[in-house]
Structure formats: C-alpha cells, structure tokens
Amino acid sequence: MNIITGLINGMISGATPILLAALGGTFTFYAGIFNIAMEGMMLTGAFFAVLGSYYFDSWLMGIVCAILGSLVMALIFILFAVILKTDEFVTGIALNLFALGATTYMMRQIFNVKGAFSNPGIVSIPRIHIPLLAKIPFLGDILSGQNLMIYITVVIVILSSFIIFKTRFGLRLRAAGYNAPSLDSSGVPSAKIRTWSLIICGVLCGLAGAFLSLGYVTLFSENMSAGRGWISLAAVILVNGNPWGIALISLLFGFTDGLGLLLQQYMPSQFTSMVPYIATLIALYFYSIQARKRRI
C-alpha cells in the first residue's frame, strides 16, 4: 500500500508544476498567442520564491515574490510581442535565455554561490493536514497531507474551467484566438485580451516556480525548471486547451516522473531521468497519428 501511495503522491507532486504552467499556457493558447516562454517564467518564479522566502522568512512572501518575478517576465513578453509586435516565437526564446542568464547571475550576485543555493533559512510551503479527509480509508493518505500548493492547484483548475467557458472574459478570450479581427470589430481590442492572458499565465507560472523551489524541493538550482516548461507546452498542444484534459495529461507526466524515481533501483539514473521526455514523445505520437491532417 505504501508503495502505491508513494507513487501516487510522487505523481501528484511531479504533475503540479507542469499543470500550473500548462494552465497558464492554456490561457495564452486560447488567446491565440504562440507562447513558449513558460519555461523562463517558471524558472524566474522559482528563483524569486527562494529569494522572498529567505529574506522575509515566510513562504507566503516567497509565493508573492515568485508571482511578481514571473509577472515581470510576462510584462516583457507583452511589451515585445503585443505592443511592439515582435515575433512571438523569437520573443519566447529570448525570454527563456534571459531568464536563465538573469537567475544564474542573480543567484551568484545575491547569494554568492554557483550551481545551487540551499539554506535552512528558506521557508518551504507547508503541507496541510485535513483531519476529515485523512479518515477516509485508502484515499486518506493521498487526500490529506499534501502540500498547500496542490490544493490551490485543484481550485485553480476548477476556476480556469469556469472562467474560460462560462464568463464574458472567457468568451472574448476564445474569440481572440479563433478570429481576432472579428473580436476587434466587435469593439473589444484583442490586444487587451492577449495582454490579460499573458498576465494570468505569468501568475500561474510564478506559482509553478514557487512550488518547484519551495515545495517539491527546497532550494534553487541553475536551470531547475529542466524542460518542464516545454513539457507543459506539449501538454497544451496535445490537449488543445481544455483545463481538465490538461490536468489529466499533467498527472500522466507526473506519473512518469515518479516512475523514473522508482526505476532508479533497476537502471542507471540517467535512463530514468529520460522517462518524462520519452513519455512526451509517446504522447505526441498518439496525438499525431489521430490528428493526421490533410496537408494543403
């Protein structure tokens, strides 16, 4: 029982940062933006989370700083891609490089270390024990005792689905992606919608980063997002946007992450680390097979 519980908990932990970033990507996806900057936003969030947590001695401030840091990245994206109309792909790549360089640089300048910053002074996001849920047999160990961020994520999934499909903003959001000139001629500037979608993405990627450095582990290391932003991008593309589908796929990827840890007893760690990425390829395979469009 413990192995399974451990596996499921590992799955949920591994899935969470991917899920949060992918939800952010979903908003920009629906708005019609080709956003590949989730990796950079997540990394920035992770760094500022540690910064805020360490200096303010509070995980809450860590989360706040993570969101702010990630928002700065989002604002840069907005400045270049929406206002100056620079190519979105290029902006995303430049932003990812900028985030990598800036976080490495700042870690060196502020904490005077290279490679990784780990310190007992970093306050991590706590786990929450819900006595009522803990009593449920079998599921109790899973439903209760998870990191706070995971409960927040569940709420966000529900909220996202509601916002995108039931509200006025959601109607306009999807319209911006389906046919931006149509939205413009309806009197709603599609640029404004795109801007908001990027801001939401910034917030969510900030949360993803905060969980990475204050929940999953408690440290910041160079390039610690490790390609998760790309996996979340793959998730968005594979699912075509629906928040619940994103949740499912993220759990799948999280599972492979946990599976990797399990398999470490049987094969060199390098191979087990490959598992999430191979899994993404397999998922892409199934997606591509069934979506084999006629090329015209």
Binding site: L84, D87, T91, A94, L97, G101, A234, F271, Y277, L281
Partner: protein, 345 residues
C-alpha cells in the same frame, strides 16, 4: 543590406547602454567593464585567437539553426545534435588508430554523422508519424543529454578520473594549433563556404529557401518538399554535430560532463538575431563569442560576474529583433505622414 547593418549596430549599442545602466545600478563602472571585456576578447593576438576559437561552435550551431529555420523545419535540436556529434567523434578517437591526416577527417565525418543521425530521428518521426519536430527535437535534446551522461559515466568512463569523463582521444585526432591560432577555425570557414554555396547557388538551396518562405507555393511549383525536409534536417543536424566534434578535438580532447553547455541554445539565439541570414550568423557569432570570451577577463578586472554576459546577450537579441520590425514601421510611417502633408490643399 544596409538597413540590416544599421539596425544591428544601433541594436547592439542600445543593448550595451541598457547593460551599462544595470551595471551602474549595481555600483560597477561600465566603461571599465566594457573596456576589460573588449580588451580580453579583441585587442591582442591571444584574445583574438581565443575569440575565434570560441566562435566556432557558436557559428556552426547558428548556421544549423539559420539554415533550418530559413528552409522550414524548426530544428531546435542543436544541443542534442552537438552532444551526439561530440560523442561519436570521441568514441572514434578512442578506438581508431590512424595517422593524423586521416584520423582528423574521419573524426570530423563521424561527428557530422552523429549529429545527422540525431536530427534524422526527429525527421523520421515527422515523416512517418507526423510528429512536430519542434517538440521532438526539444525532447531529444534532454534525452541526448542524459544518454551522453550515461555513456561517459559507464562504458566510456575514464577510470582514473574523479568526475564523469572519457579518456583523452588519440593525439592524432587533436586539431593542430599554429601559434595561438587553432585550426578549428579553418574547418568552420570551410563549412561556412560550403553551406553558403549550397544555400545560395545550388538548385537545392533555392528550393529550400522558397519552401521556407511559402511551402504551399513551393509544393505547387513541383518541389518535392518531403524529400527536401529530410535533407535539410540531416544537413543541419550534421552542422551541429560537427560543432560538437570540433569542441572535443580542439579543446579538452575528451568528452566531459557539461561539454557544449550553452553553445547550442546560443546558436538558436544567433540565428534569430541574424534573421536567419548566413552572413549575419557569422558576424553575430563572432560578436557573441567576443562577449563570452571577454567575460572571463571582465570578471578578473572589475568583478562583474561573467553570467552577466548571458543577460546582456538576451537583451541584445530582444532589442535588435524588436527594433528591426519597429524601425521599418517608423520609417514607413514618417514617409507616409510627409506625403499626406504635401497633398493638403
């Protein structure tokens, strides 16, 4: 051509300005810092030779990305292709005993083979299963990273070393150094000439370029875009692989953990800022190499950490790319406004 040069120079200038502001805010002296930066990269035979030597992987991966993007396929797999190229060259250099004049070309060939093989995987996945090479090349990067890590930790591990690395390759495979000047630059220049010729003068290059701009038009014109797609992927993979082989053969002469590190992503960045132009890639490659080479000296003299260069690079890219489009819009709008004023009765 002129507009490109001007916007490039203005962009670099603005980026350096922004960098100077960031430095001032932190209490560093920008003039001293930039002085040290360029002193250690351009002023003097040793700095210049070092900059040239370091520019080789940047330019080759940049060419790989430029040619790919300009022809259609979004090959973001240079990091992985570089590593596989380096691995193939290393393994060849460990087990083949041939005279220098033979071993070096063979190893170079093996490195291109390694890179082409790796990009070929992505090409086949696209051809057989319609899997987007954007994602597959990215995933393959991570997989190559782990795979080569395993390879240098187990089967090809140097038992006498303290960290994961292979033994040194046969000295016959070491690229010769003439004074300060490393011959990997020769290989790079040869590769550049070849790819420039192919891309601009050969029928194949013409077809690649047009396909990259409008694949439907190319297809309707009778161009076999599927065949060309695979060729481009293989060629650009080979370029990145060659970069990897040269890193090993001109540098540490063995495969260490962390080889190639950022080179390949920088290659994509260079292609982007050069707008996929081949000559632009060459020039920007030299420029970024100068910045990276000089950053070590910069850190020695003024204590500005060399990671600052990564920030500066990204800022340069953003400024130049944003400025490029913006400059055109501004110039056109000014002309339009003047014309309107002329016609007022």
């Amino acid at each position: 051509m002129q507009r490109k040069l001007i916007s490039g120079i203005i962009g670099i200038f603005i980026a350096l300005l922004i960098g100077a502001i960031i430095m001032l805010l932190q209490g560093y002296n920008p003039l001293q810092t930039y002085g040290a930066l360029f002193n250690f990269s351009l002023f003097g035979l040793f700095p210049l030779a070092t900059t040239l030597r370091n520019s080789v992987p940047l330019i080759l991966t940049g060419l790989s990305a430029s040619v790919a993007f300009a022809s259609g396929p979004i090959n973001l797999g240079q990091p992985g292709q570089l590593l596989m190229g380096a691995l193939f060259a290393t393994v060849g250099g460990l087990y083949l005993d041939l005279p220098s004049w033979l071993l070096i070309p063979v190893l170079l060939f093996l490195s291109m083979l390694g890179g082409a093989l790796w990009s070929g995987v992505a090409a086949m996945l696209r051809k057989w299963f319609n899997m987007d090479e954007f994602i597959t090349t990215l995933m393959l990067n991570m997989i190559a990273d782990f795979f080569t890590f395993w390879a240098i930790s187990y089967p090809f591990f140097d038992r006498s070393a303290y960290s994961p690395m292979t033994p040194q390759i046969n000295t016959n495979g070491w690229l010769p150094i003439w004074g300060e000047f490393n011959s990997n630059v020769i290989v790079m220049i040869l590769a550049f000439i070849v790819i420039y010729f192919v891309f601009n003068r050969l029928t194949a290059g013409y077809e690649w370029r047009i396909t990259g701009q409008n694949s439907l038009f190319a297809r309707l014109g009778g161009i076999k875009i599927d065949k060309n797609y695979v060729t481009v992927m293989l060629v650009t993979g080979a370029l990145a692989g060659l970069a990897g082989g040269l890193v090993v053969m001109a540098g540490p002469h063995r495969f260490l953990k962390g080889l190639g590190a950022n080179y390949a992503w920088d290659g994509v960045m260079i292609a982007v800022v050069a707008n996929n132009g081949l000559i632009g890639t060459l020039l920007y490659g030299l420029f970024f190499s100068a910045m990276q080479t000089g950053s070590l000296g910069m850190e020695l003299i003024t204590a500005v950490p060399r990671e600052f260069i990564q920030v500066l690079q990204a800022v340069t890219v953003l400024v130049i790319v944003a400025g490029r489009g913006y400059l055109d819009i501004v110039i056109d709008k000014t002309i339009a406004r003047r014309k309107a004023r002329e016609r007022t009765v």
